[in-house]
C-alpha cells in the first residue's frame, strides 16, 4: 500500500474519498494482526452484516487496525468489525450484553432509541460511571419495543472511530411490513484523522473543511445573472452578519481537503456493498445514519421507495423518490426492484461526497452512479429571518442551482429582485418580527400546508406529585447575543412540509416530516396518550460557528440547569433553531411525538428530530420514564462543543 499524505493531491485524495476497492475491501485485522477480510456481498438470509442473535451477548470493545482508505488506522470496534455486529433481538425478551472494554480509556455503549432503565442507558457521568479499561459491564433490560435502532459509544469521540452497530428488533405480533429480503443499510462517515485534530481545526480555522466557499468567480457569475447592484447588496447582507451561506456542514468529504469517506455497511464507495435479490421480490431496507456529523440524501435511481417506518416505529406507507436522513435517524423503506441492478446513492448534505451500494440479482453487477446534485447556499430563511429579508437574498437564491426554500413556489417573491427591503436583516434579534414572516407564507411541497395550531396550555404550569415543575418554560428563557450566541431567529418558520435546503423543488418526490403518520395497526412502541400538554418547554438551539461553541438557550452543559420534565406530565417541547445548520436533537429514554399535521392520535414517534436552520417545531413527550436522561444534538462535534443537556424526569 503506497503511503499518502492526507488532503494533498488529487489522486490520493480520490482514493481517500472512494476508499479501497472491493478486492481489498475494508480489511479488519484482529489484535493479533491476522487479516480477517469481510466480503462486500452478504450471505443470503442475513441483514447484510455480521449478526448476533438471542438474549445473551458478549461484546468486546477493542482497538483494531482497519484500512478504509489505503492508510491503516486504529479504530475502536465492537468484536472487531466495522460496523460492530448487528444485534438481533425479539420484543418481549430480556437481553443481556456483557460489554468488555479492552481500550485504555473508559468506554460505553448507548442503545439509541431504546426504552431502557436509566442505569442501562450507557451515558457516562449521567446514567453510569462508564466502563473502565479492562472492566466488563453487564447491560440487562427487557425489550419493550420493535423496529430498527442502533447502538454507539457515548464516550469521547469513539463513535467517530468505529464504535457503532445496528439493532433489529422483531415484533412479537405479526409485522405489518412484509418483505422477502431484509437488509440493514448503515451509513457512516469515516476519517483517518484523529477526532481531536478535527476539533482543533473546527476551533481554529474558519471553514477548515469547507471547499465550497463563494469565490470571486461566483460574484461575477451572480452579477451577470442578477445585476451588479443586487449581487453587491446580497454579499453586503451576508457580510454584515459575518455569515457564510456556504456553511453547509462543518466537516466535509471534499476531495480538495475534506476528511470524510462515506460508508455503507462499513464499505467505502469503491468497495460497493451489494445486497442481492431476485426479481419480483419485495426488499426491506433499514437505513440507519450512524454518522458522527453527516446528513445524507438517499435515493435509488429507478426505484420508488415506500417509507414504512421512522426511528423504529411504523408509519403509514408513503412512496418517495428520495429522503434526507439526519444523523441518528432511521428509516425503513420497501422497494420492488425489477431490473438487474440499482445503485443506492447517499450524497452528503453539502454534496462533498457520497456513500454508495448496489442492489443486484447477482454479485458483480453495478448500475450507474448518478452525479451529485449542485451545491446550494443557505438563505435568510435559514437565519430565521422574515420574508422581507428573503427578498433581499434574491441574488443568491437565483445563483444557487438547487431549489430554494419556498421560492420555487412563490414566483412573486422571486421577482422582488433589486428593490428589496433590508429591514429583516438588521433586526436580527429584534423581537418585533414583521407579521408577514410567519407560517402561512411558506407553503411548498404540500400545497397549502399549514403548521398545525399549538395545543392549549394552562396559564400556569402545574407542579407534579414530587413537587417538580417543567423547566425551562418560555418565561425562563432569557436569550441574548454574545460569544456563544451569534444569532437569535427573529422569525423562525415551521417547515415540516419541506424536505430541506438543497432538496426543495428538485423535481423528485422527497420525504418530509409532514408525510409521517403513525401507523395505527400492528405493534405500537408506546401507548397513545390522549391528554393535552400541561406545560411547554422551550429550547433554542444556539451557537457560534466561528468560535465553535454550541448550546441550548445559549448555555453549554456546565452552565445550564437540567431540563425538568415532571413525572407523569404531558409536555409540549418547542425547539427553535437559531443557527444556520440542521441539528438532529435526540432525547434519551422516551419517544417524542412530532407535532405535524397528522391527526392527534397518529403523530409519528421519533427519537431524533432534525430541526432545520431557522426552524421552529414542537413535539410532545409523556414524561413517564423516571431518571436523568441525556438530551443533545447528535452531531458529535456539536454535542462535544456544548449542545448537550440532561432532562430530569422526577
Amino acid at each position: 500500500m503506497s503511503s499518502m499524505t492526507h488532503g494533498v493531491g488529487g489522486i490520493s485524495r480520490r482514493r481517500f474519498v472512494q476508499g479501497l476497492a472491493a478486492g481489498a475491501a475494508v480489511t479488519v485485522f484482529s489484535p493479533t494482526m491476522l487479516p480477517l477480510a469481510r466480503a462486500a456481498v452478504p450471505r443470503p438470509g442475513s441483514y447484510g452484516l455480521p449478526e448476533l442473535s438471542g438474549t445473551e451477548f458478549d461484546l468486546a470493545i477493542e482497538p483494531t487496525a482497519v484500512n478504509v482508505t489505503g492508510t491503516p488506522r486504529l479504530a475502536t470496534l465492537v468484536n472487531g468489525t466495522l460496523p460492530g455486529p448487528l444485534l438481533r433481538w425479539r420484543e418481549g425478551d430480556t437481553v443481556t450484553m456483557r460489554v468488555t472494554n479492552r481500550l485504555n480509556t473508559p468506554s460505553s455503549i448507548h442503545w439509541h432509541g431504546m426504552l431502557v432503565p436509566p442505569e442501562m442507558d450507557g451515558v457516562p457521568g449521567l446514567s453510569f460511571n462508564g466502563i473502565a479499561p479492562g472492566e466488563t459491564f453487564t447491560y440487562r433490560f427487557p425489550v419493550r419495543q420493535s423496529g430498527t435502532y442502533w447502538y454507539h459509544s457515548h464516550s469521547g469521540f469513539q463513535e467517530q472511530t468505529g464504535l457503532f452497530g445496528a439493532l433489529v428488533i422483531e415484533p412479537r405480533e405479526a409485522d405489518p411490513v412484509a418483505a422477502d429480503r431484509d437488509y440493514v443499510v448503515m451509513l457512516n462517515d469515516w476519517t483517518d484523522e484523529d477526532p481531536h485534530a478535527i476539533v482543533r481545526h473546527l476551533k481554529t480555522g474558519d471553514g477548515y473543511y469547507n471547499y465550497q466557499k463563494r469565490t470571486l468567480a461566483d460574484f461575477f457569475r451572480d452579477s451577470s445573472k442578477n445585476g451588479f447592484a443586487a449581487t453587491l447588496k446580497e454579499r453586503w447582507a451576508w457580510g454584515m452578519m459575518r455569515m457564510d451561506p456556504r456553511d453547509i456542514v462543518d466537516v466535509s468529504g471534499a476531495q480538495l481537503g475534506g476528511t470524510y469517506t462515506y460508508l455503507i455497511n462499513g464499505q467505502p464507495p469503491a468497495a460497493n456493498w451489494t445486497g442481492l435479490f431476485q426479481r419480483g421480490e419485495k426488499v426491506r431496507l433499514r437505513f440507519i445514519n450512524g454518522s458522527a456529523m453527516s446528513y445524507f440524501d438517499v435515493r435509488i435511481p429507478g426505484l420508488k421507495m415506500t417509507v414504512v417506518a421512522a426511528d423504529g416505529s411504523n408509519v403509514e406507507p408513503v412512496s418517495v423518490d428520495e429522503f434526507r436522513i439526519g444523523v441518528a435517524e432511521t428509516y425503513d423503506v420497501l422497494v420492488e426492484p425489477q431490473d438487474d441492478a440499482y445503485t443506492i446513492f447517499a450524497q452528503s448534505l453539502d454534496r462533498s461526497g457520497y456513500a454508495r451500494a448496489t442492489l443486484a440479482v447477482r454479485e458483480g453487477l453495478t448500475a450507474p452512479v448518478p452525479p451529485m446534485d449542485p451545491i446550494f447556499s443557505r438563505t435568510m430563511t435559514d437565519m430565521g429571518m422574515s420574508m422581507s429579508g428573503m427578498g433581499a437574498m434574491h441574488g443568491m437564491d437565483m445563483s444557487s442551482a438547487g431549489g430554494m426554500d419556498g421560492m420555487a413556489h412563490q414566483p412573486s417573491a422571486m421577482t422582488m429582485g433589486g428593490g428589496h427591503q433590508m429591514s429583516g436583516m438588521h433586526d436580527m434579534h429584534g423581537a418585533a418580527a414583521s407579521g408577514m414572516a410567519m407560517g402561512g407564507m411558506h407553503h411548498g411541497g404540500h400545497h397549502g400546508w399549514m403548521p398545525p395550531p399549538t395545543p392549549p396550555l394552562p396559564a400556569t404550569a402545574p407542579t407534579n406529585a414530587s413537587g417538580i415543575v417543567a423547566y425551562p418554560q418560555p418565561k425562563d428563557v432569557h436569550l441574548q447575543r454574545g460569544p456563544a450566541v451569534v444569532n437569535i431567529a427573529a422569525s423562525p418558520t415551521t417547515r415540516l412540509d419541506k424536505p430541506g435546503d438543497g432538496l426543495n423543488g428538485n423535481g423528485r418526490r422527497v420525504l418530509t416530516y409532514a408525510d409521517l403518520v403513525r401507523l395505527d395497526r400492528g405493534p405500537q412502541n408506546i401507548a397513545f396518550d390522549a391528554r393535552d400538554p400541561q406545560a411547554e418547554v422551550l429550547l433554542h438551539l444556539t451557537g457560534n460557528m466561528d468560535r465553535y461553541i454550541f448550546g441550548f438557550n445559549g448555555q453549554t452543559y456546565e452552565q445550564a440547569r437540567p431540563v425538568r420534565l415532571p413525572y407523569g406530565q404531558r409536555i409540549l417541547v418547542t425547539l427553535i433553531n437559531d443557527t444556520m445548520m440542521e441539528h438532529p436533537i435526540h432525547l434519551h429514554g422516551m419517544f417524542t411525538e412530532l407535532h405535524n399535521s397528522a391527526d392527534h392520535r397518529r403523530r409519528p414517534l421519533k427519537h431524533t428530530v432534525s430541526v432545520k436552520p431557522g426552524e421552529k417545531l414542537h413535539y410532545w413527550v409523556t414524561a413517564d420514564e423516571r431518571g436523568r436522561w441525556a438530551y443533545h444534538c447528535h452531531l458529535l462535534y456539536h454535542m462535544e462543543a456544548g449542545m448537550f443537556t440532561s432532562a430530569e424526569v422526577a
Binding site: 460511571n129 480555522g205 453549554t556 452543559y557
Partner: protein
C-alpha cells in the same frame, strides 16, 4: 512606572479579571447531580494554535529583509493566552528592526470579538520599550479580521494600533489577502526616531496558494510608509520614508 500608567495597568487587570470571572458566576447546577467524576461531555477543551501569517523575504530595492508576523494561542473558547511577535531582520547586515513580542490574555466579549490585555516589548537598536496593552481582536463586518490596541509605555508614552486583513477567495485554494497595520503615538520619542501622531503604515497584498490550509506559499507586494516626524527622522538617517517591496513567503499553521 509613572502613577498614571500604574492606574491604567491596574484598570486593565481589573477589567480583565471581571470579564473572565463572569461565566463562572453563571454556571448552573448541572454538575451537582453528576455520576462519578467524568462528565458526559468535555465541553470546552483547551486547544492550541500557532501561525506565521507573514514568513517572507522582502526586497526589490537592493535590500534583503526577512519579515515575520506570527501568533499563537492556547486556551478555552472564552479565555486564551496569546503570544504575538513580529519583526524584520536585515539579512545583509544581520540587524533587527521593528521587532516586538506581546503576551496577552483574551476573553470573548461578543459574538465575534475578544478583549485582549497584556504586555508588549519592543526590541530596537534605540532603547527598547515595554508597554501595557489593551485592545480588541475579532471578525468585523464584511469578514475583516481586525485588531485595535492602545499602548502605554514604561516611559510615559502612549500609542495606538489598528490592523486588519481580509481573505478574498479567487478559487478554493487561491486567496488574495490585503493587509494593513497602522501605528500612531501620542508624543514624540526622538531617541527611537518616532514622531507624534500617525507614525507608520505597513500594508500588503499577498496572493497565496493553499496547498493545504496549514501550508500556503505566497507572493505579493508590501508598502511601508513613515509619516510626519517619523518620516523625517528616517530621511535624516538616509532612509526612505516610503518603500514598495516585493515579498515571497510561506504562510504556516502549526
Amino acid at each position: 512606572m509613572k502613577p498614571a500608567n500604574k492606574n491604567l495597568t491596574q484598570m486593565l487587570a481589573a477589567a480583565l479579571a471581571t470579564a473572565i470571572a463572569a461565566p463562572a458566576l453563571a454556571a448552573g447546577d448541572h454538575m451537582a447531580g453528576m455520576l462519578g467524576t467524568v462528565p458526559p461531555i468535555h465541553t470546552d477543551p483547551t486547544v492550541g494554535y500557532a501561525a506565521l501569517n507573514q514568513n517572507e523575504w522582502r526586497g526589490g530595492d537592493g535590500s534583503n529583509t526577512y519579515r515575520w508576523d506570527g501568533e499563537a494561542w492556547y486556551g478555552s473558547s472564552f479565555n486564551r493566552l496569546w503570544l504575538k511577535t513580529e519583526g524584520s531582520l536585515d539579512t545583509d547586515t544581520g540587524t533587527l528592526d521593528d521587532t516586538e513580542a506581546q503576551a496577552l490574555l483574551s476573553h470573548a466579549i461578543s459574538p465575534f470579538f475578544d478583549l485582549q490585555a497584556g504586555v508588549r516589548y519592543d526590541i530596537k537598536t534605540a532603547p527598547s520599550r515595554g508597554w501595557a496593552t489593551l485592545g480588541f481582536e475579532g471578525l468585523a463586518p464584511m469578514f475583516w479580521d481586525l485588531g485595535a490596541y492602545l499602548y502605554a509605555s514604561d516611559a510615559g508614552h502612549y500609542g495606538a494600533r489598528l490592523e486588519g486583513s481580509y481573505d478574498l477567495y479567487l478559487t478554493q485554494r487561491l486567496v488574495l489577502q490585503p493587509q494593513f497595520e497602522l501605528n500612531a503615538y501620542a508624543k514624540r520619542d526622538a531617541r527611537r526616531g518616532q514622531g507624534s501622531g500617525l507614525s507608520d503604515l505597513d500594508a500588503g497584498l499577498r496572493l497565496r496558494y493553499e496547498i493545504r490550509r496549514e501550508f500556503a506559499p505566497y507572493i505579493g507586494l508590501s508598502y511601508e510608509r513613515l509619516y510626519g516626524d517619523t518620516g523625517r527622522y528616517a530621511r535624516a538617517d538616509g532612509e526612505d520614508s516610503s518603500k514598495l517591496l516585493f515579498v515571497a513567503g510561506i504562510r504556516l499553521w502549526l
